[in-house]
């Protein structure tokens, strides 16, 4: 998959838009950063959900893990962690700007690497499960992580964990800009990585696993190895997204923010399905549409958001299982480089 001229213009356009967005819409900086995080989550879910066919509800595990790790490292590098969480909202320790950014950088690296390692460690046992057993098992993992982290004292247990507040550097807007550019940077990084992966043999192997794992194994592919690597890549970016989200929200609660299987855990699946599983652009479009819909609904019908979410899930799953990209593909197959045989098409229409 080489970059054509049209694509190049598209990418440059998106990049310019991305960089200038916080100055065009200064009031929506936080929303735009959340959008970036959502796109990262949907895109990485798609690596093993869409391409590999392993529908996981448990990527929230890596997201929450990254969130806690980033915040703990950021605090723990300079101050005693236990006293920090004990003091709760009243801050006895204050990060200087240098400490804050150093902590954030190290924290994000840890938040990305450790979840990937965790995915590698549990991958061998969990990825051996097939189909719905995998789905339920990962659902269980996500909820168990939330319940257990809600009982650990050093990271705030039930009362939550306040992440270090943004230091006072210059103007008031700097916090929003910092988090927006950080998340946009991670988004670009994710996109480049995922696009790179999708242009290699690795993606074909993942697709082979999705289409028929036993046959793929019979063809001599060590499916387990590739499944684990796929999940690790997914976990890496999930952890990174979680770390940013922790700083952005400013407060981590075990079941409501970090391991929020009922919200974020379902959102990533839903966004990928809405946009179209198993495509590069599907999750990105899905996440954007979903975020706009969600924010509109959350603002105007406060309180009914979960009702709307439930209905939305049912409607999407039943009526649009192929997503927006799947619908476009059916409508304009030529655009996707598929050669349509006119005779064949007519014959099919007659059959109907």
């Amino acid at each position: 998959m080489s970059i054509t001229k049209n694509n190049l213009i598209l990418y440059i356009g998106i990049l310019i838009f991305g960089v200038s967005a916080p100055f065009i819409f200064p009031a929506f900086k936080v929303q735009l950063s959340i959008l970036c995080v959502l796109i990262v989550l949907a895109t990485t879910w798609n690596i093993q959900g869409g391409e590999m066919g392993y529908n996981s509800f448990g990527n929230i595990l890596f997201y929450g893990l990254g969130m806690y790790l980033c915040a703990s490292v950021q605090v723990g590098m300079f101050f005693p962690l236990a006293e920090w969480t004990e003091s709760g909202g009243e801050k006895t320790f204050v990060h200087t700007p240098a400490q804050f950014f150093q902590g954030m950088a190290v924290g994000l690296i840890v938040a990305a690497v450790i979840p990937a390692i965790v995915a590698g460690l549990i991958g061998y046992s969990i990825l051996g499960l097939r189909g719905h057993y995998f789905a339920i098992c990962t659902l269980g993992l996500g909820v168990a992580a939330g319940e257990i982290s809600g009982g650990i004292e050093i990271i705030g247990a039930g009362q939550g964990f306040t992440t270090p507040p943004f230091p006072d550097v210059g103007s008031l807007d700097s916090r929003g800009e910092f988090f927006y550019f950080l998340s946009f940077f991670v988004l670009v990084l994710t996109f480049i990585a995922v696009r790179g992966i999708y242009s290699t043999r690795f993606k074909l192997i993942l697709n082979a696993i999705r289409d028929n794992e036993d046959k793929a194994e019979a063809m001599g592919i060590e499916t387990m190895k590739y499944k684990i690597v796929g999940w690790m890549i997914s976990a890496f970016f999930c952890g990174l997204a979680g770390g940013i989200m922790g700083g952005l929200v400013g407060y981590i609660d075990s079941t409501d923010v970090a391991f929020d299987g009922r919200e974020m855990g379902v959102f990533m699946v839903l966004m990928a399905i809405l946009g179209g599983k198993g495509t590069l652009w599907g999750p990105i479009i899905g996440a954007t549409v979903f975020h706009i819909f969600k924010e509109g609904f959350w603002t105007f019908f406060l309180g009914w958001q979960y009702v709307a979410l439930g209905v939305l899930i049912v409607v999407i799953v039943i009526y649009f299982p192929e997503g927006i990209m799947g619908w476009l593909r059916e409508k304009y197959p030529e655009r996707f480089g598929e050669v349509v045989d006119e005779k064949d098409r007519k014959a099919q229409v007659e059959l109907k």
Partner: protein, 297 residues
């Protein structure tokens, strides 16, 4: 960590008895799940929310001055129609699709129910007080609320009735035939659509009974549904589909496990330990099955 359990044997006895009585309730819910899984090949994530909804029916009767034990009769009737409605609106569109689609669709129903119950009944933890008193055993060392004994008795009664109904009645035979081979049943004149609707309705009714009993014995809360789903899923995969004694046994086993986890690890880890146990069981199952696959190689 608390090791009182090992120092005072009476606490172990208490935990075992509590666990068995609780486990019978779990088994009833799991039986409903096994039924719909076996017949329709659907995993219903909203199972636990149906249970909680049944509990709220009993709680409402209690609020209006009717004894909540009557909920055991009212809840299944109401829930049967709720189940049929869910089937007609959603489930019949996902029956012969991919299992993941059904999981996700029922997840949506679960979120919807959670929030609607939250609106309708508020986010408080409630219980329908039955005033049944308690029974003391072993020199007053073991305390058993009579409501727990009552609920276990009622669950066993319902399970037995259902088993007999499945064996003897025409619909029961049609359900079993559809579970064995839906296509063959269709050819032989079974209206599978009706059978599916009835199965889902019966499952919802069972959830209603269990929920009414739970609201009498324990507490209910709009967001407490998912653990019940996971428990019943776990019981079904340990026992296997269509293995009724197995469902009863593993239900009780799970109840006892939970009570001990509660004593040893502390209440805050109770739900977490259930979910971890699910993961462990699935992983164990995976290694056992992969050994079988090695043989085939």
């Amino acid at each position: 960590m608390d090791f009182m359990v090992f120092q005072y044997p009476m606490i172990s006895v208490q935990a075992c008895l509590d666990g068995v009585l609780l486990g019978i309730l779990f088994a009833l819910i799991a039986y409903g799940m096994a039924l719909q899984w076996g017949v329709m090949n659907i995993i219903n994530i909203a199972q636990g929310d149906l249970v909680i909804l049944g509990g709220y029916i009993a709680y409402f009767m209690y609020l209006y001055g009717i004894h909540p034990a009557w909920g055991v009769i009212v809840a299944p009737v109401v829930m049967y129609f709720v189940g049929i409605a869910i089937y007609k609106l959603v489930i019949n569109k996902v029956v012969d699709r991919d299992l993941f689609i059904s999981i996700l669709a029922t997840f949506g129903i679960s979120i919807l129910f959670m929030q609607l119950m939250n609106f309708a009944f508020g986010a408080d933890v409630v219980l329908a007080n039955s005033d049944y008193g308690t029974t003391m055993l072993f020199n007053n060392n073991v305390v058993l609320p009579n409501s727990k004994i009552f609920s276990a008795f009622i669950s066993i009664l319902f399970a037995i009735c259902l088993v007999i109904y499945m064996k003897k009645s025409k619909l029961g035979r049609a359900i079993r035939a559809t579970a064995q081979n839906a296509r063959a049943a269709k050819i032989l004149g079974v209206d599978t659509e009706k059978v599916y609707a009835a199965t889902f309705g019966i499952n919802a009714a069972l959830c209603g009974v269990a929920g009414a009993l739970i609201s009498i014995t324990f507490t209910i809360h709009p967001y407490m549904g998912l653990p019940y789903t996971i428990r019943s899923f776990m019981i079904v995969i340990v026992a296997g589909l269509g293995n009724l004694p197995g469902v009863a046994m593993s239900g009780m086993g799970l109840g006892v496990f939970e009570e001990f986890a509660d004593y040893i690890l502390g209440t805050e880890f109770r739900i977490g330990s259930v979910f971890l146990l699910l993961v462990l069981i699935l992983v164990y199952r995976r290694f056992k099955l992969s050994r079988k696959r090695e043989y085939l190689k």
